[in-house]
Amino acid sequence: MPALMYRRHVKTGSTMLLIAGALAMSACASKAPKELPPEPGPATTTQTTPPPSGPQPGSQADFVARMMGSDTIYFQLNEDTVDATDQAALSKQAQWLQQYPSKRATIEGHADERGTREYNLALGERRANAAKNYLISLGIDPSRLNTVSYGKERPIALGSDEASWAQNRRAVTVTID
């Protein structure tokens, strides 16, 4: 529950975070080309040159850390509408993806448990596509984006209540290391 509340606060305070994120990103953007050469590479390589602090730039861990919750967007019941909050989160994702143009991502679509299994698989796919289409509209090459639906099979909030269901109706962007 505390984690859930934290997430919510992050979302409501997204304007401030966005500004901070944009500043951070514009700062990084100038350096970005230099950091591009290290391709995905085996994990051992990353261990031999540990970054002074935080995850390796351009990694999924870096993406998660930089998004601060914006790797996930949330939907209303049975909806796949991308609202203003979702748009802000997807813009943040797009900025990261533009910073690391060799990175691909999978968007995982999910549904809450209060629907039938097969329909929820299709609904999760529809939600993942809504997120994908918005990223494309922001200039991300469609060939970099995959979708997969898990329907109601992989909940993140485990309660059977409105707050949990709201957390589970989601599309999560996962970059591929």
Binding site: N78, R114, T116, R117, L121, E125
Partner: protein
């Protein structure tokens, strides 16, 4: 030698009145084994013609089920033990079949006299009259050549002192429970006038582990939960299986290649292959009643539509629906001419019917809430579905959308599947909170509901046809 052998000398008598034969027959006729024949349907004048929607009289029908006798207590290749122990086990399976489905309240075999082998065809009627039994089930078991098991089953009307029906089957040791299911089917059919269903199997998803890391494996079992077997390891999530009409294959969804995709699993070779190489996620597989066609639903750009492809493989998939939104699932009418499916083209999940070629699509569900997962009864007279209005409940309606009846009233029941005779519905129930799934069944009255025994959590039951 998996095939069950029906003994012709008995089978021929199923449709006739056989009292005279019973009186004059030798204690046990030498069984003549022949390949399975079609059992004659219950005779029109016979049986107690009672509709299942009023089962009050059934419960009062006293059926005594006795331990099956044997001519010689010898070892068998079964997991039940010697022929004497097997006789007891057989009668227990028969009693459980008849009791667990809510149609009868049988007594025995515990607490009842055990008839001797010689009495199987000439019951001690005064004893059973004194015990107020209306119906009497007796049987025998014998070990035959090559380890084969021969089982005979007799149903008597105690008041009339008359044999109503009898049957005999020769089975390999591993299939001994099938002989008991055949006996229960014979008794059930004769007394109810309905088609048999106990000798059938169920494919389902076995679930273990916590809600956020649940392993989902393809599994199969007999209609009573026995002979349980896992078919997949659980490394890839498996969902929504469907037995082929001949039990040789199972269609199901697997995340084996990352995307949810429909595979056809061959039970003889334990191999599987993709039903269609689409590059897109495929879901909700279904067989046509003749096994020649497969329906699947494919998502593309967030849209989902229903496709039909030959089950033999090859050929171009034919797109049956083409509307914005999600159209998914599909269940054929018994004659294969129509398909009932769900679609949210109107804004939320509702149930539609179309011709098998996709023409004449029209909505039939006009209730409050959402309506999903329609399954056409094998009898053709009803469509079972999940009604989502707050809670998820199992309901039935007729094929034109009228006659809505809710059969369950729990927090979350979904995905109905019909018994082969269209009289019982299985579904899965999810517990609020923990999310534990279990398979339940309910009859069409909605009054007789019970949980199926499964070794672990269970969902997505798919009931196959009655076995030949």
């Amino acid at each position: 030698m998996k095939k069950i052998i029906h003994i012709a000398a008995f089978g021929l008598l199923l449709s006739g009145s056989v009292a005279a034969f019973a009186q004059s027959a030798p204690p046990v006729p030498a069984p003549q084994s022949v390949p399975t024949g079609q059992q004659a349907p219950a005779d029109e004048d016979g049986g107690l013609q009672v509709t299942v929607s009023d089962d009050s009289d059934w419960q009062d029908l006293g059926i005594a089920i006795t331990t099956f006798a044997t001519d010689a207590d010898v070892p068998t290749g079964t997991n039940a033990g010697s022929t004497a122990a097997l006789g007891r086990a057989l009668s227990q399976v028969v009693a459980a079949d008849l009791k667990n489905n809510g149609l009868f309240k049988p007594s025995g075999p515990d607490g009842l006299p055990q008839p001797a082998y010689a009495q199987i065809q000439s019951p001690d009627f005064p004893t059973w009259s004194a015990r107020a039994a209306n119906m009497l089930v007796q049987g025998y078991v014998r070990a035959g050549a090559g380890g084969q098991i021969t089982v005979g089953c007799y149903l008597y009307d105690v008041a009339l002192k008359q044999q109503l029906v009898k049957g005999g089957w020769q089975v390999p040791p591993s299939d001994w429970r099938r002989a008991a299911h055949k006996c229960a089917d014979m008794v059930y059919s004769r007394l109810s006038g309905e088609s048999p269903f106990f000798d059938s199997k169920i494919a389902y998803i076995a679930e273990t582990g916590p809600k956020d890391h649940r392993m989902k494996r393809l599994a199969i079992m007999d209609s009573d939960g026995a002979n349980h077997r896992y078919l997949t390891s659980g490394q890839s999530t498996a969902l929504t299986p469907r037995y082929s009409p001949d039990y040789s294959k199972i269609l199901y969804l697997s995340y084996l290649n990352g995307q949810p995709s429909i595979y056809v699993y061959d039970l003889a070779s334990n191999t599987q292959k993709l039903i269609a190489r689409t590059g897109n996620p495929t879901m909700a597989p279904r067989w046509s009643p003749d096994g020649k066609w497969v329906l699947y639903s494919m998502a593309s750009g967030g849209n989902t539509d229903i496709y039909r492809i030959s089950s033999a493989g090859g050929g171009t998939p034919q797109r049956l629906t083409n509307t914005p939104g999600i159209s998914i699932g599909g269940s054929y009418s018994p004659d294969g001419s129509q398909i009932v499916f769900e679609s949210d083209r109107s804004g939320n999940q509702q149930i539609y019917v179309m011709n098998a070629d996709g023409s004449n699509q029209h909505r039939i569900s006009f209730f409050g809430g959402r309506s999903a997962t329609p399954e056409w009864s094998p009898r053709g007279d009803q469509i079972a579905f999940t009604h989502v209005a707050g809670n998820l409940r199992i309901a039935v309606m007729n094929p034109s959308g009228g006659g809505l009846r809710h059969l369950t009233d729990s927090w979350q029941d979904e995905a109905p599947t019909w018994s082969p005779n269209g009289r019982i519905i299985q579904f899965f129930r999810t517990a609020k909170g923990a999310g534990t799934a279990s398979i339940w069944q309910v009859d069409l009255t909605g009054r007789n509901e019970r949980r199926l025994p499964t070794p672990v959590g269970a969902s997505d039951p798919a009931w196959g046809p009655v076995r030949p």
